[in-house]
Subunit: 198 residues, 2 copies
């Protein structure tokens, strides 16, 4: 069995960042340090939230701030799985936990069409940033042909409820969507009876 | 399928009470109104969190505030199930959702022994209060011999992590315990893609 404590510490710490009344960019930056610590070990994610779906990538909610100021999601990529080109409209962090992910960035021209940028590969322990108006358009894929990859995403809102868009790479045609989540449950972070002596 | 929205509204509303910097008694009182609304309809609790265990009552965590200022727990009582005499050491609210619960209160004498007080019966929609130093000792039981009863408890801390005690009713002998929770998951309150149009 995994020990959920690192995720609990991450969620508590991230919540406390909002108590300091920092601006969004400072929260994202300080949060990236917390995420780096979280993904520096791959021993805490419960098995339920690591399971690939045979047909599409999974987005398991791990925690949503009750005031919906941020959310934490486990992205599980089976072999060959990838997103379409999409945006977020809120800040984001990607922390690589297991396997390898490729992220291809795009910029949008004034006529609405897209220009393909570079492709980065994320390795376990690495953290990448997203910000609206800076680098909000990308396409993410499992970079491993024969293994599951898992990354932990953090967003500056309840991403499962944000109305945003996927795009056709060549025409730039946009389609609005709300991503939702792959599971009706989230992990219980709060059972301290398992680690505390009574 | 149930609609989780009433529980989401309850959790958001309760969290916002802490933003007002009210004292604990005022939070408990305002929270009791929110709980009354929550248990006024029995159509929102996912089936997973309504299942009785054959041998003992279940305590399913529904939500824990990430700063551990409050927690929300579904107590599921099979026929004949009851707690021992116990305390809480933080404020509590009990909202009856389904079936019928009996609550027997106790007061503690200076010599540590207990005096049995009255027994109240809670019916669906009703809310009871607990407070340390006022009425912190009780014994709760399913009041129905042949049906499951369910009540929603709210506490002024992460109750699954509070070190507190059970007591022998006659000798007053105390035994420390941490109650923990019956499930490794909690319900996902945050999938707004199910109710919002994209
Ligand atoms: Fe993305
Ligand atoms: Fe109790
Ligand atoms: Mg790289």
């Amino acid at each position: 069995m995994t020990n959920i404590e690192p995720l609990r510490e991450f969620v508590s710490g991230f919540t406390r960042l909002f108590e300091t009344h920092l601006d969004a960019a400072s929260i994202q930056k300080a949060g990236a340090e917390l995420l780096k610590t979280l993904v520096s070990h791959d021993d805490w994610l419960p098995e339920t939230y690591t399971r690939p779906h045979p047909e599409r990538y999974s987005q398991y909610l791990l925690h949503c701030d009750p005031l919906e100021r941020f959310s934490v999601v486990s992205f599980v990529w089976g072999p060959g799985q990838k997103t379409p080109l999409h945006d977020h409209r809120v800040w984001g962090l990607i922390g690589m936990l297991r396997g390898k992910e490729s992220e291809t960035q795009f910029t949008r021209r004034d006529d609405g069409s897209f220009e393909k940028g570079g492709t980065d590969f994320l390795e376990p322990g690495e953290v990448a940033f997203l910000a609206p108006g800076v680098n909000d358009y990308h396409l993410v894929a499992n970079a491993l042909p024969d293994q599951t990859s898992i990354s932990i995403h953090v967003y500056g809102a309840n991403i499962g409820g944000v109305s945003r868009a996927v795009y056709d790479e060549t025409s730039g045609t946009e389609k609005t969507f709300i991503s939702g989540y792959s599971s009706e449950d989230v992990p219980n972070l709060w059972d301290r009876s398992r680690s505390k002596a009574a």
